[in-house]
Point group: C2
Chain length 101, copies 2
């Protein structure tokens, strides 16, 4: 059993593609910096659904302790510093999964 953290973001009006690219850049650095991340998937919504959020992050870790290590890691906190000013809305959950994927 593993733990999956899911976060969906809706960007504030006026958020630019360059700002979203910066979010992707800071998130892309996290798997190397945070060994607790067994898998890390994120990206912009594909625009194929209705009333979707704009961006999703899915972090797969072993357990609650590994999730806390990810959440509190200074590089993750720095990423949140880039993300938070752009947020209009955020939705999140943590669930148990069968494995790392």
């Amino acid at each position: 059993m593993a733990l999956r953290h899911i976060a969906l973001f809706r960007w504030s009006e006026g958020t630019t593609p360059a700002q979203v690219a910066e979010v992707e850049e800071v998130l892309a650095r996290l798997p190397e910096a945070i060994p607790e991340l067994d898998a890390y998937n994120f990206g912009s919504d594909l625009g194929i659904g209705s009333d979707t959020f704009d961006f999703a992050v899915v972090a797969d870790v072993a357990d609650e302790q590994a999730y806390a290590a990810y959440r509190d890691h200074p590089d993750h906190q720095a990423a949140l510093g880039v993300i938070r000013p752009l947020l209009a809305e955020r939705a999140s959950a943590q669930i148990r999964t069968g494995g790392a994927g």
Copy 2:
């Protein structure tokens, strides 16, 4: 490259554990019924975060066509018939991922 569909649910007040168990039962049947599902993870929020949604579903499929097959499959539509009456709020997104997991 693959496609990941993410849906987060917040249950209406008064939703019972038995109703959530029924949701889990109908979702658990989908991977066998829908061959387009490469991976399917779902479950109740673990209660370790703040202001989290109550339940998450993550479906991994190959591409947009496989996602549409999942979305429109009669067994998935039947599952939505169980879920929708319980919903206070829903958040979703579809993103590109590196693989099936």
